[in-house]
Symmetry: C2
Subunit: 560 residues, 2 copies
């Protein structure tokens, strides 16, 4: 159940992350040649939860789920699209940001996970631009406030119409006593390089900035009079399209709907089972049932049924479902079943064809799903047992875990061979974490020798002893200790304070460099979460609660 105290407007008992354009209520997606237009036109009468309207193109998680879906489809279904124009379908407003009544009524856990998802969606926009040649141009007509401007900030280029009234603003602080926390502060300073004192003025000015000053302060890339808007947008689209390497005449694949079956303990999709027992969710991933397709044409023919893509999508949906619907889950335990050689054969096909647009998209999708795992604030545990297939791409789940356990030798009464892992080139490059390093490089921070030793083991069958020596798993255990040790560990974990685990894991998972992305999820988000707890924002007299009531917020004036 998503949240005991709130009702989903559609009468369902869980938030559903699956959608498709035929079901969109808030976005219109139109494609013409190499240019797509994504129009935000929020249906104010279709909120996710009961109790508020989505006025002025404001958004809630439901709106963002559609956006995330549209962005995914553009990459897989429209390989020829090189430029995405982000526009508003409303006359005088671009987007008013996250809906305030929704925020005021949401639980802390929902707010935090809502922000995490919207952040991931905006990061995906930048990922499409940087790695997939799909650039975004944001055309701001009308008021573009708060989360609306934060969405614009994710684009490569922001055009602001110069009509005397269209503005960009981050009014969160003066209006609501919270931060522009969906990447806003970080992108203002680190992406757009707005001078810190200008940023200070901008972020404390309710009414925002328009016209020339918006360009001078680097808040937008250009201002254009209404009369020249269409030609400017067309010209910029052409310029950005010219620099893209996306294939001109490729045909996309269709992302078929995921079929999810509820089970008494959890859920099943074709390749992923989720079982929840007590406060532990076990996610079991199934390896490929057959050899990979012989060539790229056959891979294209498999479409979204192609094993790596199908698994990535199912895992992603399972993680999101736990994040937003199962707040009591303390730990996620990853298991796998299948043939490691078949996993590696799929990795190899993608590696050999990594320049092909679809192979590239699939690996980028895995990169994003694995980052979503890294950023999930539940304890992550991976169990490497006989019959498992933690090889290549799936070995990343061993490295993503807070702890991993590997069984030494065979299991009593089980004639399957001893557990083994395997590494592949894919573990040494494409799946960068948000800190810009591979999981192995993060694990062995500045220890090039350890990374080299792991690289040398590519192609080897890595048993528990070797995995321990290479430092790939935390503990290698005998059958006799296995069950007790893991049970005690999981019980202990569930007994700790949930909040302190969130903080611990957020720190230990991201050693090494910080990037704009890690800054957003750490410096910015952690401060925002702190503010989301403080009475000045969320108390009875706080700004979030008092907004729109006509009563002024009352603040504790102590500076902490």
């Amino acid at each position: 159940m998503a949240e005991a105290d709130r009702k989903l407007a559609n009468g369902a008992d869980r938030i559903d992350f699956k959608t498709d354009p035929s079901r969109y209520r808030h976005w219109k997606l139109a494609v013409e040649g190499d240019t797509a237009t994504l129009t935000m036109d929020v249906d104010e009468n279709a909120p996710l939860f009961e109790g508020y309207q989505l006025k002025l193109n404001s958004y809630d998680l439901g709106v963002d789920i559609e956006l995330a879906d549209a962005l995914e489809r553009l990459r897989f279904e429209q390989p020829q699209v090189r430029v995405v124009l982000l526009r508003s379908g409303k006359p005088r407003v671009f987007c008013a940001g996250a809906n305030i009544r929704m925020l005021a009524a949401a639980s802390h856990a929902h707010k935090v996970n809502f922000c995490k998802f919207t952040n991931e969606t905006r990061n995906a926009i930048e990922d499409a631009s940087e790695f997939s040649g799909q650039r975004m141009i944001c055309v701001v007509t009308g008021s573009c406030a708060g989360g609306g401007y934060e969405l614009a900030l994710a684009a490569d280029h922001i055009i602001l119409v110069d009509d005397g009234s269209s503005t960009v603003s981050l009014p969160e602080l003066p209006l609501l006593a919270v931060l522009p926390g969906t990447g806003g502060l970080t992108r203002v300073t680190d992406k757009r390089k707005v001078r810190r004192d200008h940023a200070d003025v901008f972020c404390t000015t309710e009414e925002g900035v328009k016209g020339r000053r918006a360009v001078d302060w680097k808040l937008v890339d250009e201002v254009v009079p209404n009369s020249k808007l269409d030609e400017t947008v067309a010209a910029r689209a052409q310029e950005f399209a010219a620099k893209s390497d996306r294939p001109a005449d490729a045909k996309g694949i269709v992302l078929a709907p995921l079929q999810v079956k509820a089970t008494p303990q959890g859920r099943e999709t074709a390749l992923v089972s989720v079982e929840i027992a007590g406060r532990i969710a076990t996610i079991t991933l199934r390896g490929p049932q057959s050899a990979p397709p012989a060539d790229m044409n056959m891979m294209l023919a498999q479409g979204s049924a192609f094993w790596p893509l199908a698994l990535a999508r199912e895992l992603d949906d399972a993680i999101l479902d736990i994040r937003l619907n199962e707040f009591e889950v303390a730990a996620i335990v990853f298991k796998s079943e299948g043939d490691a050689a078949a996993v590696l054969a799929h990795d190899e096909l993608l590696e050999e064809n990594k320049a092909h647009w679809l192979a590239r998209e699939i690996r980028l999708k895995w990169k994003r799903v694995l980052k979503r795992v890294d950023l999930t604030s539940r304890t992550l545990v991976t169990l490497v047992e006989p019959g498992s297939c933690f090889a290549g791409t799936l070995a990343e789940l061993v490295l993503a875990a807070d702890r991993s356990y590997m069984l030494v030798g065979q299991r009593d009464g089980d004639n399957r061979p001893a557990a083994a892992m395997a590494l592949h080139a894919v573990n040494f490059g494409p799946y960068l974490m948000s800190n810009g390093l591979t999981r192995l490089a993060t694990r062995f921070l500045d220890d090039d020798k350890a990374v080299a030793a792991a690289k040398k083991a590519i192609g080897e069958v890595i048993d528990a002893g070797a995995a321990g020596e290479l430092g790939l798993v935390t503990f290698a255990l005998d059958d006799i200790d296995w069950e007790d040790e893991i049970r005690v560990f999981l019980e202990e974990r569930a007994s700790f304070s949930a909040d302190s685990l969130t903080g611990l894991e957020a720190n230990l998972r991201f050693g090494g460099p910080e990037t704009m992305e890690t800054k957003i999820f750490a410096r910015l988000t952690a401060w925002q979460n702190w503010i989301f707890q403080r009475p000045n924002a969320v108390g009875e007299e706080g700004a979030l609660r008092r907004y729109g009531t006509g009563q002024k917020a009352v603040f504790d004036t102590k500076r902490v």
Copy 2:
């Protein structure tokens, strides 16, 4: 008044940061040749606040104020000291970390600022090692837990005695439901490069790690049996001393006690006035009264009265006083009075002699004081007016401000010349912020041209017009607008939520790269502050409150 609801044990009404070895209750400082021994021997009956005892070498802010003082004195008063041995004066315990009863009873604002100060002190240990050739070796005998181990982590080398009972541990999470927030998590992953899964085990294990495993997991540098402890410590001290560039036969200067006079509106020291009106504190810095000493010998003779050093110490104390005693202050306004040429002459003397130990120390002291300003969570405003001397080192206070205002031309009825700023080489190198960049480089992130233009202006008299063009100030205002504009701005600032300002400023001030230091103050601290607000730690049934009561903490099990 420090905190309305708590009483200082010494009966005073403000926390005092000034001390000297003759008044230490908790530390012993002994110097022999090039080696100092700093012995922690906390007097359990001398807590800072009433209501708890400092058992088992646990610490509160009072203990840390003495440590910070000892570290400062070692640098200025003992230039020949190359190695500092950090030891415990208690038989079976090294240090039990921050005192839990103190934490449980402290206000949120005190806790947060206590942690900030202790973090700054540990960073100063690393600063002494990296920039000043004073290395620290920590000799762990007995139990070294929590903040005790975090103190050890600041050292260059950790020796753990192998006696079967001496351990290092970070039991904050399992015991208290908070984080090892005084740099612990960050130094474990980023300084000592402990593998993230080992770190996970270590940080969730109450009893800690001893012997061989502590070395294998990189938690300490060596374990040594009791019988070989003395010779090992002596050998390491010799090794580290051999690599230091500190002068063998220099004589130190004495850091004379600061004379602080309370005034009806604030306080006065020789060079710094603090005036508090409403929620605004105005700090006025006075420039040098005379030309700098002719040479280094005369500078040594001036000792701690030498203007740059005297001003740095007074400013530091003023900032700390506001941070811990004046929680209602929303903004600090910096002003200055004096002769810019005289400021620059002092900067030039230090620049010419930057290889001299004392000149180096004074510049490093300024670096630390300016970082303290950056990290002060109050709005920082600098006003550049006629008669001010924001030149060279003092110009850093314009660049450190969230906003700065400069008066254009002369003031009506004031015949002093128009306000001017001046830059010096000192603005382009030695005063790195904790992000590893100069304030100018942070201001003009990736805009080398703007930095170069500022560099070209070295030696010029920069009036308001030029300062605006160079981007050194936020607003240049005429006399006619000055008073109203600034008054309205300060009133508005004081009307905003204090917490959201803290978050905003913490984000906007630190654009660009993150370092271990910024990670500690952002990722780690922000999460800790969040946890310090959560009922699982600080609620009636939370772990911090229930610790030692015999009652188990009760947790909200929701993962956020």
